[in-house]
């Protein structure tokens, strides 16, 4: 029977590590943007009490969970979606699809259109999550890269592009 090689899933340790780091940072950046950016703040305020969402890769790829606590404060909750009752779950069908998204070779919209991303939960809430993630990407990425990740690069005021951007990145680093 040794002639018949068995292949088990897994591997790609560097891809997994890269995605874990990216999701960790994006999760903390969402938390930071919710405190720094008025538009993100408003989006979260309109979401239900204790709203929680996850971005994850199927079947057991890297994940991030972000949610509002009892007081409405937005927090990065870690990388285990199973620990929380989720309102919205955005799932990339494979780690490769998530890698495409987080190497900015594909936008969220294209991933959806190519059947690589599916949504579970309330659709209006999922739309709000995508809008939040788009704003966070503008904060985190240089303009030429961000333009690949979102449909239309926004025209923001100078303060938002400079001061708010610096604060979101700083807050994401220090986790506040």
């Amino acid at each position: 029977m040794n002639d018949f090689r068995e292949i088990t899933p897994g591997g790609r340790p560097f891809t997994r590590m890269y995605l874990n780091v990216m999701l960790w940072f994006v999760g903390r950046a969402v938390q930071a943007a919710a405190r720094q950016d008025l538009e993100v703040k408003r989006e979260f305020e309109a979401l239900p009490h204790r709203f929680t969402f996850a971005l994850t890769a199927a079947p057991d790829g890297p994940s991030m969970v972000v949610g509002k606590d009892e007081t409405g404060r937005v927090k990065y909750l870690g990388r285990r979606p199973g620990d929380y009752p989720l309102h919205v779950r955005l799932t990339l069908k494979s780690m490769e699809a998530l890698f495409l998204l987080f190497t900015f070779r594909e936008s969220t919209a294209t991933a959806t259109a190519r059947d690589r991303l599916y949504v579970e939960g309330g659709l209006p809430e999922a739309c709000a999550v995508v809008r939040i993630l788009d704003i966070v990407q503008v904060y985190l990425l240089p303009k030429p890269v961000a333009k690949l990740a979102i449909k239309r690069y926004p025209r923001w005021r100078l303060k938002r592009h400079t001061w708010d951007r610096a604060m979101v990145n700083l807050r994401a680093v220090i986790g506040y």
Partner: protein
């Protein structure tokens, strides 16, 4: 044609179409090992005499276990649970759904419960919740528009919680769609024009939005060609059986296209106008379709231009310079709306400001446009639109559609 680097297409529905297709249902059910179907329909279909046509076509070949004609205009959890009990008590083994979107959705909901057991529909929401084949379902559409006879979605309202719950699974695709010209022969003119424009919108958006693919493109182009060639003919000669069959076939093809390629901002806005102001879906589609094409033209003008061949024919296509074809496509759709306006004596509106209710009052007050724009931000079809849309963009489009004036290209923000 731009080929996507990856796409998926699935339509495992057997389509049976013709002037006497209903008579084939007993044999088709037999092939699925079913012999005692339950017919699910609504009072409107029964009142129009269409249920009698279906029963007449079936009863010589098969025992009809039960006939339920109580589906409301908005499918409902309670009704689904009640009809599932009837199905079990009457020992049925298949479902024949005769009607429009609500009937199809209700039948799909009933099929979930009778196939999976229990009465908790909520246990079957979410991706992958349905894991096995359901009971045989035959869909007989009575309008030529929704395409729900070939779609994998059911939206059922939980009126107690005031929620609309979507169910999505390939197992919800009907086994057979029976397209019979008799089912749409007596449709009133305005319903014919609204539903055909709904189908046209499915096809146009499937062809021009982000999830387009070569297989859905083929379905979309044929659907557009059939509608362009037959809609006005049928409006002028309602008893035209061939024309009716062509429109019904177009609706099915458009359904196949959009259920795989999805739709964009015309539906984003149309769903919201319908939800806020209770405007019929087809009316919204007819009015908003030119605006969706205009708004996205800098992104998908090539695709919009390709539609001109199917919409206006080879002569118009050939004499229109390539860089003007997209604009000519929009002009052709506006001209079709104008023709429908005239042939219905003004009952087919050309702009949102012309939409009136049965009492003659304006159905979409201009003051409600901001509310419609806000609601539209939560519609998932916005993901599939080529250009980004925020609340200001949606409002700008709604304002123009309300007045019936073309979009000002200078106001379209290009990404």
């Amino acid at each position: 044609m731009r080929l996507p680097d990856y796409y998926e297409f699935c339509c495992r529905v057997k389509i049976v179409a013709g002037h006497d297709a209903l008579e084939k249902i007993p044999a088709l059910l037999g092939a699925l090992h079913a012999a005692r179907p339950m017919i699910i329909t609504d009072r409107g279909v029964a009142g129009a005499g269409l249920l009698d046509v279906v029963v007449g076509a079936l009863q010589d070949g098969i025992v009809i276990g039960a006939v339920a004609d109580e589906v409301p205009s908005d499918s409902d959890f309670k009704v689904v649970r009640r009809l599932a009990k009837v199905y079990q008590q009457k020992d049925c083994d298949a479902i024949v759904a005769v009607g429009g979107g609500s009937v199809m959705d209700t039948a799909k909901g009933v099929n979930i419960l009778v196939s999976e057991g229990g009465d908790d529909l909520m246990a079957f929401t979410g991706a992958g919740a349905l894991k096995k084949r359901l009971k045989p379902l035959v869909a007989v559409p009575t309008t030529a528009g929704t395409g729900s006879e070939v779609t994998l979605v059911a939206v059922i309202a939980d009126h107690e919680k005031n929620l609309k719950i979507p169910f999505t699974s390939y197992f919800l695709l009907p086994d057979i769609a029976v397209i019979d010209s008799r089912m749409t022969l007596t449709l009133p003119d305005v319903i014919t024009s609204q539903t055909a424009m709904d189908a046209l919108c499915h096809a146009v958006e499937a062809y021009t939005c982000l999830a387009k693919n070569p297989v859905s493109d083929a379905c979309a182009l044929e659907a557009i060609s059939l509608i362009a060639g037959n809609l006005l003919k049928v409006m002028k000669t309602p008893a035209d059986r061939d024309g009716r069959l062509a429109l019904a076939t177009a609706a099915t093809l458009a359904g196949m296209a959009f259920s795989n390629s999805m739709v964009g901002m015309v539906h984003t806005l149309g769903h919201s106008v319908g939800a806020v102001c209770q405007v019929p879906h087809g009316t919204c589609m007819a009015v908003l379709l030119p605006y969706g094409l205009e708004y996205n033209m800098h992104k998908n003008g090539e695709e919009a231009g390709e539609l001109l061949f199917a919409l206006a024919g080879d002569a118009v296509f050939a004499r229109t310079p390539r860089d003007r074809r997209a604009k000519q496509t929009v002009a052709s759709i506006r001209a079709l709306n104008q023709d429908l306006y005239e042939v219905t004596g003004g009952r087919h509106p050309r702009c949102l400001g012309e939409v009136t209710g049965p009492d003659g009052k304006i159905r979409v007050p201009r003051a409600r446009l901001p509310e419609i724009a806000r609601v539209a931000l939560g519609d998932a079809s916005i993901f599939y639109n080529p250009e980004a849309l925020d609340e200001d963009d949606l409002l700008m489009v709604l304002e123009a559609a309300w007045e019936g004036i073309p979009l000002d290209p200078a106001r379209i923000r290009k990404g």
